[in-house]
Amino acid sequence: MAGKTLYDKLWDDHVVRQEDDGTALIYIDRQLLHEVTSPQAFEGLRLANRQPWRVDANLATPDHNVPTTSLEGGVDGIEDPISRIQVQTLNSNTREFGITEYGMGDVRQGIVHVVGPESGATLPGMTVVCGDSHTSTHGALGALAHGIGTSEVEHVLATQCLIQKKMKNMLVRVDGQLQPGVGPKDVVLAIIGAIGTAGGTGYALEFGGQVMRDMSIEGRMTVCNMAIEAGARAGLVACDDRTIEYVKGRPFAPTGDNWEAAVAYWSNLKSDEDAVFDKVVELDGSRIQPQVTWGTSPEMVGSVHDRVPDPALEADPVKSAGISRALEYMGLPPNMAIQDIQVDYVFIGSCTNSRIEDLRAAAQVLKGRKVAASVEQALAVPGSGLVKQQAEAEGLDQIFIEAGFEWRNPGCSMCLAMNADRLPAKKHCASTSNRNFEGRQGAGGRTHLVSPQMAAAAAVAGHFVDVRDLVEVVQ
């Protein structure tokens, strides 16, 4: 019999009940909650007079709507009344049902996908869900994690389970060694460029190979975070010594005998040598260049040295029309050099790239440099209060501020512009976030997805530039 993949193992360990038709009842170890996709789920519980199955399996924090400017006045200080009600509703729901919440003003508050791993609420081997598609992030720890809709949030609250059908197994192997100045964000954008925005649909997507083994846990989170942009609900990386080192000592991490038992269990959280995948894609990591998206889907991406494509050269009529529409929205002529695209806004943040390592990488580029005069606004938004604290202890905030960035409080911010941080129409933004969809960062806004280093370099140059041409990068 062939060996098991990591996904097979995680799945098998969580089956409560297998039905004949292929569906199964799967146990959920951890649910993370935020203010946008949970109110209707709590309302559903109340209407049906149900209680949460296991209160301690849930952890909540507001992130999408929270202001990143002043936190004075806390929740009541949120200017937008509709945003305020949503955050207040999370507070009242968690209070009513006894769920732990890291609320506004708590240093542990932040973007839910930063908070989960950082607090140890996400552990290897867990099943983790959240009403947010970027829950795939948590797979970086060897957990089975994916986004769900609000009906399923309610289902997990009430039953601690989900009705699921097993996905297929896919492996993306990135071998070789990354060039200096090329990071996890470039790796995942290159993967999406190679397999397409629906390339992983229906699969649990495991990232393997030398590049992934050499990558930090924060970097693996960046890669898994964008598995969903390749269509895969769940991204996965095998648990190894780096993972265990990362988890150790975190508030929710096991201690004493439990720690020893957990480490023994976690050491098996990798695909067997003879595991069979339904699909395998291989990339040579040493050939990956710094990436920049030019269109309105994450698959519309290329090297910073490329040119924007010409729809006339695309044979497939649906694809050609898609390229034309994207270029029109982005205000870019066919064949334009990506390095000639002027940048008006810079956003460093989001659940993809707001961890301490991301801020360090950007600060390294910005140190002793200034944001170009043509850049209208440059934001640095740490992923959590604890990330912010750490960055400030290292003096990174001063580097950002001296370069001309605004140093903000944690939240989702301009990744999706549900709070006041919005990209104006027709403005080009070098953004470390995950989606370049039409209107994502603000109605009519033009998003270019890049790594933190590349966003910092674009801020300094005022247009896209290979970060290696700007600064000698130490890997």
Binding site: L25, A48, N258, V318, L416
Partner: protein
């Protein structure tokens, strides 16, 4: 929440001719601030449908509409079936997307492929997502655009679609999901029937992995 769906529906088809339609396009972020499940219909495809930027709570009746957008064309008024291209519903997991489609009046979405989370969310809200081969979807686009008032007849019980010319197409739908849709079943109630199995799993798991049950 589950909703009872139609068993059979004959309705006008609206063609949305672009691939990779994401849930940000289906319902933009500012409308996600609502704490309700209803009222999203007027803001479905807001950025494509209107020429201004919509805000939550705003009355859409007086807003300038984009005459080029398909749903604003008179021939597609009253459409209950949306014909779409590949990877429909990609991006964010927001269930507000199917809520908006349903609230607008769509009961069926036909596409060559759907994003996983959106596909799943549809069933929870009485929307039937139908996957058909790309060539067939392509042919349906041509037929719909060629003939004003073009209708399809979708039968969930028989799992067939009858075209305007009488041709019948079969479609696949997961047996459990079909059963839930046809009977308007409550998923949570169904799962709670197995609460003993859940408790048994928890007891076993607590022995195998006790750290998963210890609180901070």
């Amino acid at each position: 929440m589950s909703l009872t769906l139609f068993t059979q529906l004959k309705a006008i088809v609206a063609p949305l001719d672009r691939a990779n339609v994401d849930t940000d396009a289906i319902i933009p972020k500012q409308f996600l601030k609502s704490i309700k499940r209803t009222g999203f219909g007027p803001n479905l495809f807001d950025e494509w449908r209107y020429l201004d930027v919509g805000e939550p709570g705003e009355d859409c009746a007086g807003r300038p509409i984009n005459p080029d957008f398909v749903l604003n064309q008179s021939r597609y008024q009253g459409a209950k079936i949306l014909l779409a291209r590949e990877n429909f519903g990609c991006g964010s997991s927001r269930e507000h997307a199917p809520w908006a489609l349903k609230d607008y009046g769509f009961d069926v979405v036909i596409a060559p492929s759907f994003a996983d989370i959106f596909f799943n969310n549809c069933f929870k809200n009485g929307i039937l997502p139908i996957v058909l081969p790309e060539a067939l979807v392509d042919s349906l686009f041509k037929q719909v655009m060629a003939q004003a008032g073009y209708q399809l007849d979708v039968d969930l019980t028989a799992q067939t679609i009858t075209l305007a010319d009488g041709t019948q197409i079969c479609f696949e739908v997961d047996a459990f999901r079909r059963h839930c849709l046809l009977n308007g079943l409550d998923d949570i109630g169904l799962t709670l029937v197995h609460q003993d199995a859940i408790k048994k799993y928890e007891a076993k798991r607590r022995e195998q992995a006790p750290w998963l049950f210890s609180t901070q």
